[in-house]
Each structure stands twice: as structure tokens, then as C-alpha cells.
């Protein structure tokens, strides 16, 4: 055993010194940090999109412009809400608040206005004077050292028609004339500056006659007779969606008027709703409501399955690589004059497991750390996730499944490593294992939807999948019988695989030349 630990110590010390290990350690928290801030960052770096709008009917231009303005106001509203929350005085609502400066405002209420971005609040925000008014109101609430608020940039900006393109051309000709601009072969001029044209919206003069009503027969190709939206970027659909919604709304408004229906009442009717709650029967009375924490609890295991998969694969691969290094460098012979193959194998398993646990530990530690930092009133998600991780049994079961899953796959990888002289040979033999290992990645997303269903149950009883699938189901409290049963089966299989690969390892490790055929392997296992 002493020798196995010596081997393990070397494996650990040498692997921890490699660049790859440190990159692995840091890449994960970096990815989390990026994904936390990427949304905002992407939004900020997205260039201003220029569009031209030609409304030959004269009916839709104003509604479209108004809708885009509303979109912008909503962004301002959201950003302002975050700004106020981040910079409010901590003693809000207490004596520290200078009531003289903000006589008419209840700070709690004021803050609450920005807590949610439902359309009515945005509507009121615009009606009450927009950003300027809100800034004036908020001034007394903010910390003295609060930075200036900078409103988000306008995402979509209207550009004038380029010179030489007349607004009264037929829609088809107009589109033809704009195409070079849309393909970015030419640039439009905005305030004297050349700019890329992102999209063109063309509304034909007879748009009202093109309205499709229930019962209208829609001929193929007739969609083009209505509003046309041209753009060579089909991935960014924000503008398209907003324009389409605005057009539909305006057309519908016209319909109400034509049919003598009061449009204002329709709008009010549309905003009525009945209270609706999603409830969980497993919870105590009074706590049945499905909260964000429950949703997170449902889906967090998926993250762990992924982590488990990446972790197991990374370090089993590490094990394979350095077994092959020892073999191809012929270090193995000196080793085997000092330790038995069994000790060598055990040492490698333990050493690499320690490397893996260090890496995974650093990952989980940094995840908790980042969540801790981010957690707070403005990051409900982070704080809920943090409390879910702390309270549930996710982390302990992750640890157990990680160790067992690792030993199972590592055993197989070690046996392969001992048979091959080069990484290339190993990759050929890895094929079948890769096919087996890829399955949990596919099922990962389906299992939380039916965590105790047939697919999940069946996969749980297949030992190579047990760690991943049971981890996946962790939130759904699978029956105790399944939890213990699959664990015992996994343990037994792991022991068997390690025993088997021990025999292969002993014979394969000194072998040179072609990897053996399968039948030859069987003979080895029997004879060893």
C-alpha cells in the first residue's frame, strides 16, 4: 500500500504542475462569470442597427415608430430599476431620507415600481415623464456617491432612404433598389456618416386590402403582398418581431373600429386574468407554491450531471494519457521492478482521482464563491441557487457518484491504456466507450421532465449510466429502493471492472506491438 501511495503522490504532484490542470481549474469559474455578465455585455456591444421604413399607405409608420420607442423606453426602465436598486441608500425609508427633497414619494413604493417590468408599469413610466422625471424623483433616494445614470443605447435607429431611391417606387422595385444596401455592398448615410443598413421595412399603399381575415383563402406567395421585412441578418429577430407585432396591433385596432367595437375596452379585457398558482403536493401547507427555488431544484441536477460528465471524462483521459506515456517511454519496466502491477494501478487510480477531486472541488468552490458574491436583492437567481446547493443532498450525492463513476470508467481506460503503445491506437479502442458515454448527455435534458419515468428508471439500472442518470433524478426523490439498489449494482460493477482491468493491465502493460484482438484478451483474462 505504501508503494501505491508513492505512485499516487507522484501522479498527483506531476499533474497538478501541468498547465492543463490550471487552465482546467480557472476556465470553469471564468465561464460562469462570463455567462453571468455576458447577456449585458452582448447587449452593450451590439452595434446600433439602422433600418429604413417606407410606408406608402401612411397607416403603419406611426404605430411602428411608437412600438420601437416603447421598446427603447422599456430598456431604459429596466436599466433604471437596476440602477436605483444598486445605488439606493441602505437606510431607505428611515430618517436618513431627506424628505424635504422628495416630499411626494414613498421610497418603498418607488422602488417597487421598478421591481418588475410589466407593460403597465412601463406605460406609466412613459406617461409620467420617462427617465427625466424618474431621475428627478429618485435623486433623494440615492447614495451621495452614486454614479451618473447612463441610459442604454438605442438598439434600432431609423435611417433616411439613400439618395437615388425614391419612396414612391413600386414595392418590388423599391426592394430591388435597396438590395445592394442590405447586402452591405453600399452604405446608407446617417447624419452624414456612412452606416450599414440592417433592415428595410416596406409597407405597400394598399396594405389595408391585404389584411387576412378568418376564412380568407391565402394563396402561396401572397404573404409578400403585405408588409415586407428585408434583412440579411436572420438571426437577430428583435426588430422583425417588434415591427410585426406593431403592424398587427394597428390593423386589429382598425378592425375594432370598423366593427364598432370599443378598442379601449378590448385592451382592458385583454389585461384581465385569473390568479393561477402552480403547487407542489410534497410541500408543507402554506409552502406549496412552486417558487423559483423549486424550479432551480428541479434543474440544478442537470448542471451537476454535466459537471460529472466533464469531470469524469477529463481525468479518465488524463489517466489514459499518462499510462500510455509510461508505456511508450518504457518507464513502466523500471516501475514494475519496484512495484507490482496491482500497486501501480491502484496508485494511478488514487493519484488521478485526487487530481480530479481537486479540480471539481475548485470548480464547486468557485461556483459557490461567485454565487455568494453575486447573491443579493438584484440577483435572485444566484441567491436561490446558492440556498438550493446548500440545503439539498446534491453535493454529497455528486461526490459519491463522481468517485464511483470515475473508478468505473478509469478502470476501463486503464485497461485500454495498458494495451496500446500510442494515443492513436487508444483512440481506436475508445470508440465503443465514447458511444456509451455520450448517451447521458442526450438524456440529460429529458430526464428532469419525467424523472421517475420508464426511460429514467431503466437507465438508472445500467451501471455505466447510473451515476449520471441518478444524479439527474436527484431532485425528484427517486424511491429509496432504486437509490440503494442502483448504488449497490454500480459498486459491484465497479469492483468487477477494476478486477478485470487489473488482469488485463498486468499482462498488457509490458506488451509491445499491436493491441490484442478481443478473443486474445478473453484468453488473457482467463489465464492471468
Amino acid at each position: 500500500m505504501r508503494y501505491a501511495f508513492l505512485v499516487a503522490w507522484r501522479e498527483y504532484a506531476e499533474n497538478v504542475k501541468t498547465k492543463g490542470f490550471w487552465i482546467g481549474i480557472f476556465i470553469f469559474p471564468l465561464l460562469i462569470l462570463i455567462s453571468f455578465s455576458a447577456g449585458g455585455w452582448l447587449e452593450k456591444t451590439k452595434p446600433v442597427r439602422y433600418y429604413v421604413l417606407v410606408d406608402q399607405s401612411g397607416k403603419l409608420e406611426a404605430p411602428i415608430e411608437a412600438a420601437l420607442e416603447r421598446l427603447q423606453q422599456r430598456k431604459v426602465f429596466e436599466a433604471f430599476g437596476k440602477y436605483v436598486q444598486a445605488n439606493a441608500r441602505h437606510e431607505q425609508g428611515r430618517t436618513a431620507l431627506d424628505l424635504e427633497k422628495v416630499p411626494a414619494i414613498d421610497p418603498e413604493k418607488f422602488m417597487a415600481q421598478f421591481a418588475d417590468d410589466n407593460p403597465e408599469q412601463v406605460e406609466r413610466f412613459i406617461k409620467e415623464g420617462g427617465l427625466d422625471a424618474a431621475l428627478a424623483q429618485a435623486r433623494g433616494l440615492l447614495r451621495p456617491d452614486a454614479p451618473e445614470f447612463s441610459a442604454p443605447r438605442r438598439a434600432f435607429q431609423r435611417a433616411p432612404l439613400p439618395d437615388g431611391v425614391a419612396a414612391d417606387l413600386a414595392p418590388a422595385e423599391l426592394a430591388e433598389a435597396l438590395k445592394p444596401y442590405l447586402r452591405h455592398e453600399r452604405e446608407v448615410l446617417v447624419d452624414g456618416q456612412p452606416a450599414e443598413l440592417f433592415a428595410a421595412v416596406i409597407v405597400p399603399a394598399d396594405v389595408s386590402e391585404r389584411v387576412v381575415r378568418p376564412g380568407t383563402v391565402v394563396l402561396p406567395g401572397s404573404e409578400q403582398a403585405g408588409v415586407q421585412y428585408w434583412s440579411s441578418n436572420l438571426a437577430d429577430e428583435d426588430l422583425k418581431d417588434e415591427v410585426e407585432r406593431a403592424c398587427d396591433e394597428e390593423i386589429r385596432r382598425g378592425e375594432y373600429v370598423a366593427r364598432g367595437v370599443d378598442a379601449a375596452s378590448v385592451r382592458e379585457v385583454q389585461r384581465t386574468h385569473v390568479p393561477f398558482a402552480a403547487l407542489d403536493p410534497k410541500k408543507e401547507a402554506g409552502e406549496e407554491a412552486v417558487s423559483m427555488a423549486d424550479v432551480i431544484r428541479q434543474w440544478a441536477p442537470m448542471g451537476f450531471v454535466y459537471l460529472l460528465w466533464v469531470g469524469i471524462f477529463t481525468i479518465a483521459q488524463m489517466l489514459l494519457n499518462n499510462t500510455i506515456e509510461e508505456k511508450s517511454n518504457r518507464i513502466i519496466e523500471v516501475l514494475l521492478s519496484s512495484v507490482t502491477p496491482g500497486e501501480l494501478m491502484m496508485g494511478k487510480l488514487i493519484g488521478i482521482a485526487a487530481v480530479g477531486l481537486t479540480m471539481i472541488g475548485a470548480w464547486i468552490g468557485s461556483l459557490l464563491g461567485i454565487l455568494q458574491l453575486k447573491a443579493g436583492p438584484e440577483a435572485e437567481f444566484a441567491s436561490e441557487l446558492l440556498s438550493v446547493l446548500r440545503s439539498s443532498g446534491l453535493l454529497p450525492s455528486f461526490f459519491v457518484y463522481f468517485v464511483l463513476g470515475y473508478l468505473l470508467y478509469a478502470g476501463a481506460f486503464l485497461a485500454i491504456g495498458s494495451l496500446c503503445n500510442t494515443l492513436k491506437e487508444a483512440q481506436n479502442m475508445m470508440g465503443p466507450i465514447m458511444v456509451i458515454m455520450i448517451v447521458p448527455l442526450f438524456t440529460m435534458a429529458f430526464i428532469p421532465k419525467d424523472p421517475n419515468g420508464t426511460l429514467a428508471t431503466v437507465l438508472s439500472w445500467i451501471p455505466p449510466y447510473t451515476p449520471f442518470v441518478m444524479m439527474n433524478r436527484a431532485a425528484a426523490d427517486p424511491p429509496m429502493f432504486e437509490r440503494v439498489g442502483t448504488l449497490v449494482l454500480l459498486l459491484a460493477t465497479t469492483i468487477f471492472v477494476l478486477w478485470l482491468s487489473g488482469r488485463i493491465f498486468r499482462l498488457g502493460i509490458l506488451r509491445t506491438g499491436q493491441p490484442p484482438k478481443f478473443m486474445e484478451l478473453l484468453r488473457w483474462v482467463k489465464s492471468a
Binding site: 508513492l6 506531476e14 506515456e325 518507464i331 509490458l510
Partner: protein, 309 residues
């Protein structure tokens, strides 16, 4: 006392007999040369001695133990194909192998640095082994094999790949070990090394032991050769009791003859005979046989065949 004993050891790979019924014993404090052509079974025998391979039949005893692994801390081994962990520092790899042989981490490090300094590798101690040349790497491995001061050192082809200066260094290392009462077994096909250094020679070919004895005994296995040149009749030499054969030698046109003498006979007898009979000699060449000749004589045809198999 015998440090190492092999008794009728055989190793089969399928139907192929890599080692065939080999027995020998190694005396404590001796240097034994293990000779044989390529593919003779030297490495297989050494691996069996170390317990890396199990013999198909026969008995091996190392320090009285049936498996070398039981006494591994007393053995040092340099395998034929030499490799090091590329990313490890030179001192660390020497120390690592020493800890695997029972030294504690601290003394292993001290010992590694000490050896590297003594054998001119001090500047490389902190470098990764990938920075070493092939010969230096081999020296490092020899040091790794002896870092724990083993009682029995087994070196498989230690001289191959070393330049003459470092071959000299290695010879000194081996002699030092023997001087301190350590036992050394090494395989080689450079006969000069074996001849210079070995107390005993063990020659195997095609898995079979052909010769086992001291260098002098080995040399005695081939007859002495004497080359003379004379225009006179040399037939009378055949009558001498020490002369086994008189044959025309290559380039006989000028009267060159090759005489084969009984082992341990004195060539002076031939010279005196020639004086007495008035045979005038233009040339009288006699060379002591070398281990090289012994080797070629015993395994020549085999080795040739093996290399073209």
C-alpha cells in the same frame, strides 16, 4: 554465498522457447557479464529475475526469496529500453525511483542531488528530463537504479548509446559498486567491456546457456591460433604434441600457414622446433584469443541466422 540462483528456468511464449532450461548462480560481490546475440533471451531472463515476468518452469531465488519483489529494495534495475518522465525534473525522477525502493523522501532527494553532482549532471538537476540528451538520460537512469544503494544491481545493455567517455564513467560506477561488495549483473554485446570487467561470463543463444565460467575459462574454450610464413616445408610441425592442425592460411601463395594449438600450450615450443629443424620464418604471429572470438566461435552461425529471421 549466492545472491542469485536460477534453476532450470524456461519461458515459453506460445510454442516459442524464449529461455530454455537455463541454470546459473551469481556469487555475492561479483561482476557477471550476460552475453548473447540479439534475441538470445537475455532481457527475458533478466525480467524473470526481477519478477516482472513469471517463468513458465523452473525456480528463481534472489537473496533466498522466490520473487524479487519481496526483496525489491535490495535490487537496482536498469532496463534495456530506457525512458524517463519527460516533464519531471531530473533530481525528482532519481529521487522518485529511490523512494519506490524504500528511501524516505528527504534522504532520496539528498542522495539524488549528491549522485547527480558526483557524476557531472549537477547543472541538469533542476531541469526537466526532456532537456537531457539521450546519453545523459541514460546516465540519469543508471543513477536512478543505484540511488538506493542496492546490494544487487542488474543492468540491461548499460553501455549502448553512451560515448566512450561516458562508457568509461559507467565502467567506474560498476567497479565502485563491486569494490563495495555489491553484486552486479549486466548484459552487453560489447565483448571488450565484458572481458575487462567481468569475474564471470554467461553466454546464451537461442534461449540456451552455452557457456558459464570465468573469462579465462571462456577463453580456453577455443584453440589458440598461430600464423607463420615460411618457404620451407612445415609438415614436420604436425608431429608436435601441442599442435592440433596445420592448415594453409588465407593468402597461402606466399607460404602462410595457420596452426591450431592445444589450449594452454606455449607457442615457444613451435618456435624452438623451427630453429631446430632449420625452418626459416618470415613471420611468427600468435595472438591470445579474445572473448570476441569466443563469442563468434560459439554463436556466430546462430547470430547470423537470427538476425535474418
Amino acid at each position: 554465498m549466492h545472491v542469485l540462483e536460477l534453476e532450470r528456468v524456461t519461458k515459453l511464449y506460445g510454442d516459442f522457447k524464449a529461455v530454455d532450461d537455463v541454470s546459473f548462480a551469481v556469487q555475492e560481490g561479483s561482476i557477471t557479464g550476460f552475453l548473447g546475440p540479439n534475441g538470445a533471451g537475455k532481457t527475458t531472463t533478466l525480467r524473470m529475475i526481477l519478477g516482472i515476468l513469471k517463468p513458465s518452469a523452473g525456480r528463481i531465488s534472489v537473496f533466498g526469496a522466490p520473487s524479487a519483489l519481496e526483496v525489491r529494495t535490495r535490487i537496482g534495475y536498469l532496463p534495456e529500453e530506457k525512458g524517463l518522465y519527460k516533464k519531471m525534473k531530473t533530481w525528482a525522477i532519481v529521487a522518485y525511483f529511490a523512494t519506490l525502493k524504500g528511501l524516505d523522501r528527504h534522504s532520496a532527494k539528498r542522495r539524488a542531488l549528491e549522485l547527480l553532482e558526483r557524476y557531472g549532471l549537477k547543472d541538469f538537476a533542476e531541469k526537466r528530463t526532456e532537456a537531457l540528451s539521450k546519453g545523459m538520460g541514460q546516465k540519469v537512469q543508471v543513477l536512478a537504479a543505484i540511488a538506493h544503494d542496492p546490494e544487487l544491481v542488474i543492468l540491461d545493455e548499460p553501455f549502448s548509446g553512451l560515448d566512450p567517455v561516458n562508457q568509461q564513467v559507467l565502467e567506474e560506477i560498476v567497479r565502485d559498486l563491486a569494490k563495495r561488495g555489491r553484486t552486479v549483473v549486466f548484459s552487453t554485446h560489447v565483448m571488450q567491456h565484458a572481458e575487462r570487467m567481468c569475474d564471470r561470463i554467461l553466454l546464451i543463444a537461442r534461449g540456451k546457456k552455452l557457456l558459464d565460467g570465468t573469462v579465462a575459462e571462456a577463453l580456453r574454450t577455443i584453440p589458440r591460433r598461430l600464423v607463420i610464413e615460411s618457404d620451407d616445408d612445415v609438415a614436420s610441425l604436425r608431429a608436435l604434441p601441442d599442435v592440433l592442425a596445420v592448415q594453409p592460411a588465407a593468402g597461402n601463395g606466399t607460404g602462410r600457414w595457420e596452426l591450431r594449438l592445444r589450449e594452454s600450450s606455449d607457442p615457444q615450443v613451435v618456435l624452438q622446433h623451427c630453429f631446430a629443424r632449420g625452418i626459416r620464418l618470415r613471420r611468427f604471429d600468435h595472438a591470445d584469443p579474445t572473448l570476441h572470438e569466443v563469442f563468434v566461435n560459439l554463436v556466430g552461425p546462430d547470430a547470423r541466422e537470427a538476425s535474418f529471421r
